[in-house]
């Protein structure tokens, strides 16, 4: 399929099948909660009070830091220790082995772990930590060449900048016999998918994975070679010339600007408006064994997310101060502040308004939508991490086993019952299906409808679809 | 080794004696206190085996004080080490009170040339190590303490018995070494140049002490020395060894000077000087060694 198929027929058989599925699921959720939405059941005491959560030094770990610093965890009877992890693999291993009870995770991590790509473990997410928050940065050298190809208005480049502008640079590298390399933070990271999306939208092939043949480097047929670098090491790796650009969360793009070693060219919400970013992950075993604890953790996180977005971000300055402490993100407050307080600096001096750079609560940012899970699964399929075709139902089932809006709903309803939140601050749980409406807010204008993952994949020129294999 | 059998049964002894030993030495074996018979030793070297000692025969009576004298390198210490059981002879063997010597043991106490005290133990503790080992189960704790102190008194070391070796002089260390050997109540005391490293005055003192102790205890003593005066003054017999390789007993000189002996009177004693002369003649005429 190509772009003209974007408008799907509503009577599509897939659609009908899905409606049956979601109705059944809704019934299952409802039975656990009790029919009237506001007569929330009282949440029992936490079964496990002493908890350790892992995080990576990124500004979007903020809900954890705020829940800790503002005492929201303690309000739930939870004594939480927050531990910075050196990289995403260590963090995931910590959660799988049980040395971490939960963690700030890449959205792809619980999904990949559950389907057994990389470490196999059933991990669930009852809480989505934020929307947006990433950007793509290239080295000064690459930017100098790109800049000439980008249209300007009032002396400033017109945004969003397409990867097309980078294609000649990549071509030139190829002529010189050099590889064009970019860093991302983890094979199943949102960064990997957004970076690939952006490159592919600009007709640059980021390469394929083929786990069936043991290829997990994701560089088959690649024009741009992507590799893993832990977030805090991105600027220094760029400076060392090991990579020519990267996609990472904050503050590591602004750090490059601050240190004068690179230029951010695009923020991820320009690739996909209000894309889901980090999630809070726990093992399925944990939420099964300690159901009250899981709900209480989500309660604390909801309050933290709300605090971060409260009154158009009036608390953001305080959040920046908290995050700049060494045990959290640790970067200078002014670097963290750049993206956290509604602005984003691209080329040095080119500071633009970016109110949506980090969304922690509004627009239902914290609700774990099945459709978000399915989007990540489609990207895993697109780039070969899921090497064989899967039915739409498979996508739905994986999403259902990993994303746990039922836990979120319990937490939210108890917060409403406690008078701390209004129902309007959450999705309407009576009608909520877990699917966001179809959207074409992507840089290439392709429409995504979570109900039709396979049909969605058909629309891409670069990428696996149907029964294709690498 | 030729002497494979242990001589604790008369019949066995006789068999061996008839088969392998000359009649003379077989009789000697029966009666002897300490008998070295046809003792030879070879040491392996890169150029093949080297015969250090060749067919040494020596018969020592109980309570006898025997000195071994010879040029350095002639194998005196090797003889002593064989008696001590630290070396095994290649041929021949040593019999002490009817038993063949096959390994070291406290009944053949050794006074080493450089005292060999354990430097981390006091004089008392050094002697105690030996006493506890030898009299384990035979003496009570109090008896042991008394015995240790007695032996230290014997060598005039009671005033410094709680000092460590590095806190006392060389002579005192050697006294402690002697006390340690005496405290084992040895059948034979083996002394390897015990006073060699001491100055002349200290040496004289120690020799006097040794004579005094010997008069009282009447131990069997084999002492190595290259000091002619020391040998004549202390010994009942002097065994003079030929130069190596294949060193052996050259001459044996009986010292029939009356005891107690006094070094001052001896200096003018004609017999003493004659004996002294005999030893010197052996060493510097018959077994002259060219130091190159």
């Amino acid at each position: 399929m190509s772009k003209h198929d974007k408008k799907q027929c509503p009577q599509n058989p897939n659609r009908r099948r899905f409606m049956q599925f979601s109705a059944a699921m809704g019934a299952a959720l409802g039975s656990g909660i009790g029919a009237p939405a506001f007569a929330a059941e009282k949440i029992g005491y936490p079964e496990k009070q002493q908890l350790t959560f892992g995080f990576i030094k990124l500004t979007d770990m903020a809900p954890l830091a705020i829940a800790y610093e503002k005492g929201y965890f303690e309000d739930e009877g939870l004594f939480v220790t927050l531990k910075a992890q050196s990289n995403w693999k260590v963090l995931l291993d910590g959660v799988v082995s049980g040395s971490l009870d939960g963690a700030h995770m890449l959205a792809g991590q619980p999904l990949a772990a559950t389907i057994g790509y990389g470490t196999k473990a059933h991990i669930v997410t009852p809480y989505s930590m934020d929307l947006n928050g990433n950007a793509i940065t290239v080295s000064n050298e690459v930017w100098k060449q790109m800049k000439t190809l980008v249209p300007h208005e009032n002396g400033r480049p017109v945004h969003p900048i397409d990867a097309d502008a980078m294609a000649p640079v990549v071509e030139q590298y190829k002529k010189q016999g050099k590889a064009f390399r970019m860093g991302m933070v983890f094979p199943v990271s949102t960064h990997n998918y957004y970076l690939r999306y952006w490159l592919a939208a600009g007709n640059l092939n980021p390469g394929f994975y083929n786990p069936l043949k043991g290829d997990v480097s994701g560089q088959l047929d690649a024009q741009v070679l992507l590799s893993v670098t832990p977030p805090p090491q991105m600027p220094s790796t760029l400076q060392a010339g090991t990579i020519d650009g990267y996609c990472v969360g904050e503050p590591w793009n602004e750090q490059a600007v601050f240190q004068g070693i690179g230029v951010p060219v695009i923020a991820d919400y320009e690739i996909w408006k209000n894309n889901p970013e980090k999630v809070f992950g726990m093992t399925a075993e944990f939420v099964h064994k300690y159901p009250n604890t899981a709900v209480r953790v989500v309660r604390a996180l909801i309050r933290a997310g709300y605090w971060l977005d409260e009154d158009n971000g009036k608390n953001r300055k305080e959040a920046v101060k908290i995050l700049s402490q060494p045990q959290y993100v640790g970067a200078d407050a002014k670097v963290i502040a750049m993206s956290m307080t509604g602005t984003f600096e691209y080329e040095k001096g080119d500071i633009r308004k970016a109110p949506d750079f980090n969304i922690f609560f509004r627009d239902n940012a914290t609700y774990p939508f099945y459709s978000d899970a399915i989007w990540f699964l489609t990207q895993m399929r697109r780039w070969g991490q899921i090497p064989k075709a899967q039915t739409d139902n498979w996508y739905f089932n994986v999403a259902k086993s990993v994303y746990r809006p039922d836990i979120y709903r319990k937490a939210a309803e108890s917060l409403i019952a406690d008078g701390m939140f209004k129902p309007s601050q959450f999705p309407d749980f009576k009608t909520e299906t877990g699917f966001k409406p179809a959207t074409d807010d992507f840089i290439d204008g392709i429409t995504y409808d979570g109900h039709h993952p396979n049909a969605y994949l058909e629309q891409f020129e670069i990428g696996l679809k149907g029964n294709e294999t690498v | 080794m030729n002497l494979k059998l242990i001589f604790n049964q008369e019949s066995a002894m006789e068999t061996v004696a008839q088969e392998e030993m000359p009649a003379e030495s077989s009789r000697a074996a029966e009666q002897a206190h300490l008998l070295m018979s046809q003792v030879s030793i070879d040491f392996p070297t890169p150029k093949g085996s080297f015969r250090a000692l060749d067919k040494i025969d020596l018969n020592i009576q109980r309570g006898e004080f025997v000195s071994l004298i010879g040029h350095s390198g002639c194998g005196k210490s090797t003889v002593l080490n064989i008696v001590a059981g630290l070396y095994q002879p290649t041929e021949g063997g040593v019999i002490l009170d009817g038993r063949e010597v096959t390994e070291p043991g406290p009944e053949r106490a050794v006074v080493f040339q450089n005292h060999s005290l354990l430097p981390w133990l006091t004089a008392y503790e050094n002697v105690a190590l030996a006493v506890k080992q030898v009299f384990k189960g035979k003496k009570s704790k109090a008896e042991m303490r008394e015995w240790i102190e007695h032996n230290l008194r014997l060598v005039h070391m009671d005033h410094a018995m709680h000092k460590r070796p590095d806190e006392i002089s060389g002579g005192m260390k050697q006294r402690v070494g002697i006390a340690r050997a005496l405290a084992m109540e040895p059948t034979v005391m083996l002394m390897d140049e015990p006073f060699g490293a001491l100055d002349a005055l200290t040496r004289a003192h120690l020799q006097d002490s040794l004579m005094e102790i010997q008069r009282e205890l009447k131990n069997t003593v084999i002492m190595i020395t290259h000091d002619v005066d020391e040998a004549v003054l202390l010994s009942d017999r002097i065994v003079m060894m030929t130069n190596g390789p294949a060193a052996t007993v050259g001459e044996v000189l009986d010292i029939d000077l009356p005891r107690p002996r006094d070094r001052l009177t001896m200096a003018d004693d004609a017999q003493y000087n004659h004996l002294r002369h005999e030893v010197l003649k052996f060493l510097y005429e018959k077994q002259r060694k060219d130091e190159t």
Binding site: Y45, Q49, Q50, K57, Y68, G71, E74, G77, F79, V80, T81, L82, A84, Q85, S86, V90, D93, S97, G98, S99, P232, Q233, P235, S236, Q239, Q255, Q259, G260, I261, S324, P326, Q327, V329, G330, A331, D332, V335 | A84, G85, L86, E103, P104, G105, P106, R108, A109, V110, F112, N114, S116, L118, P119, W120, L129, A130, Q133, V134, R164, D166, M184
Partner: protein, 333 residues
Amino acid sequence: MKTLSLKWPSPSGSSASKPSPVSTLINRLMRGLGLPVLGIGAFLLIWSVAASHINTALGKFPGPVAVGQQIVNMYEQYQHAEAKRARFYQRQEKINAQRVAQDPSYKPRIFPYTGPPTFIDRIKTSLITVLSGFLLASLIAIPVGIVLGLSASMYAMANPIIQLFKPVSPLAWLPLVTLVIAAVYTHVNPLFPKAYVVSMITVMLCALWPTIVNTAIGVASIPQDLRNVSKVLRLGWFTYVRKIVLPSSLPMMFAGLRLSLSISWMVLIAAEMLAQNPGLGMFVWDEFQNGSSQSLSRIMVAVIVIGLIGYLLDRTMLLLQRLISWDKKAVLR
């Protein structure tokens, strides 16, 4: 700098012209205090001049003044953290009291502080890790060294292995240790955190060798006379080891232990960085990752503290060695 080259009296004071008591005193003061101070002063000068010329991505390299300020700064942070810790326990009591009021069956527990470790906590963690690794290494290395020292053939057998592993960097061991520990040490709530075990084992693996080698050499070089004494006394094997081998090889053993301890300390910092054991090594790593404008001076503070602790550890070993050693005349420095 004339003073440096001219007067350097020997300890026995055998200089031809008899120095007056005053000038000897001055000389001694100069040597004991003046010269070290002069050296430190020169170092600080070179440091500050060099630092002002080094520009990093995180700003200028911190000079002595910046580091001094950072020490004050970190001390304030430490006090702040301690106050926070105290408040945490107070709050916990309140939370417990509230809960007991609502839920009488609840048996209150006091949970340990959940905040980040303070710098002092990190020092403690590092010391516990290094000492336990070192102790474990010593418990293995001393008996092994004794056995190897007693038997020339055992030594010949083990020597190639020792020589092979001795120069291996902790960074090479660490991934192996991490994976093995992950496979073997699988309690959900382990008594010791994995990061601690991994760092400790890595330290142990690097600290083994000097003690083994030195103990073996010490044991093998027991004077023949002492061995003969033992033979004449017919000492049993254990008595021989206890009464003669151990004391005799003690000086060499201690030389090995001292080497092992200083290696342990160096290895620890690297191991903690990678294993994420919350000690000083992880502090350095975290600050490197943070990349804030304070990071460099905070790392410099850690560097100074690491050096100081390493020095103190070595001095402590030396003191212990002096206390235990029978050879009081041996020059130990």
